[in-house]
């Protein structure tokens, strides 16, 4: 790697880090407004953007063989399937042949 290319790579990484830092500051300040939608976007929306920037530019997924990205996305899809498969049971209090029996500490601020 020649000196010019190395310097160009360094400035690229520092630029990505600067963008990540600005996004991080927004994610901390956004919820201070107290608006739920803004909190959701600034906290979780920005988390996804930050994760993408780290994966693409720091882990070099943007130049890695495509099947690595597919491998990782397959694992994420498994997580979506886990949610889709179990949430109907976990998140609904009633249903056919299903009764959710409350446990004593299942209300209020303890849970």
């Amino acid at each position: 790697m020649n000196a010019h290319a190395q310097s160009s790579h360094t400035s690229h990484y520092v630029k990505i880090w600067a963008i990540l830092t600005v996004l991080f500051l927004i994610s901390v300040c956004g919820p201070m407004l107290g608006i739920k939608l803004v909190t959701l976007i600034t906290a979780f929306g920005i988390a996804i953007v930050k994760a993408y920037l780290v994966a693409a530019h720091f882990m070099h997924l943007n130049v890695e063989k495509k099947y690595v990205t597919y491998l990782l996305l397959a694992m994420v899809i498994f997580m979506v399937l886990l949610f889709a498969g179990t949430s109907p049971d976990v998140m609904t209090p009633g249903g056919q042949n299903w009764e959710r029996i409350p446990i004593p500490s299942d209300s209020g601020s303890t849970h």
Binding site: T10, W17, A43, L72, M79, V90, S105, S109, T110
Partner: protein, 192 residues
């Protein structure tokens, strides 16, 4: 006595050196480990509205400082990888140890935070929220410690200009640990 270089260092049947492919598989399995934990957290949190009150006890500033520290350590390790590729072993060594320093600051910050919380009775058995909090953060902290130990071992090889490719491998792992924290931070500290 010298040992032959591991086959995984150079062999490539898939277009990626086998050692690096192994790291990607580790990351794939880690996605399922942390993903399963976080998906369970989201499900239970959406169902139990009372969790907001529990999350209100977490200190956003501790989480924010640790987020910044990990983001910066990710920059250090990617620069270490770049230095290793350029054959600058001393620079790579320094940057690896700066990354380890970032991990140490993260853990010290976490220890101070946990001490305060535990002394206020916010322990793992208090509620399901705190069980998730300590499990997720604890598992993540174990990954930080593992990364620091591996980096320390690799750094001395780098100083001897041996196995320079391993800087990239540990870098990939460290970035993943950073990404996990990027999601833990809003879930545990921001959403209140």
């Amino acid at each position: 006595m010298s040992f032959p270089q591991p086959i995984a260092t150079n062999r490539s049947a898939t277009g990626i050196p086998t050692g690096k492919l192994a790291v990607w598989w580790v990351i794939g399995s880690e996605i399922v480990i942390f993903g399963g934990l976080l998906v369970s957290y989201i499900m239970l949190r959406l169902f139990h509205s009372g969790w907001d009150a529990e999350a209100a006890h977490t200190n956003t500033w501790f989480g924010a400082i640790n987020t910044f520290v990990l983001l910066t350590s990710s920059l250090f390790v990617v620069l270490a990888h770049q230095a290793a590729e350029a054959g600058e072993e001393k620079k790579a060594f320094r940057l690896i140890w700066l990354t380890i320093g970032g991990g140490a600051i993260f853990l010290i910050n976490k220890a101070i935070e946990w001490s305060g919380e535990i002394s206020h009775g916010l322990v793992m058995t208090k509620s399901v929220f705190w069980s998730f909090y300590y499990t997720a953060c604890g598992l993540h902290a174990l990954h930080v410690i593992a990364g620091m130990v591996i980096m320390a071992i690799i750094s001395f090889d780098v100083l001897k200009k041996q196995h320079m490719n391993r800087v990239e491998l540990i870098g990939i792992y460290w970035h993943f640990v950073d990404i996990v924290w990027i999601f833990l931070f809003p879930m545990l500290y921001i959403a209140k």
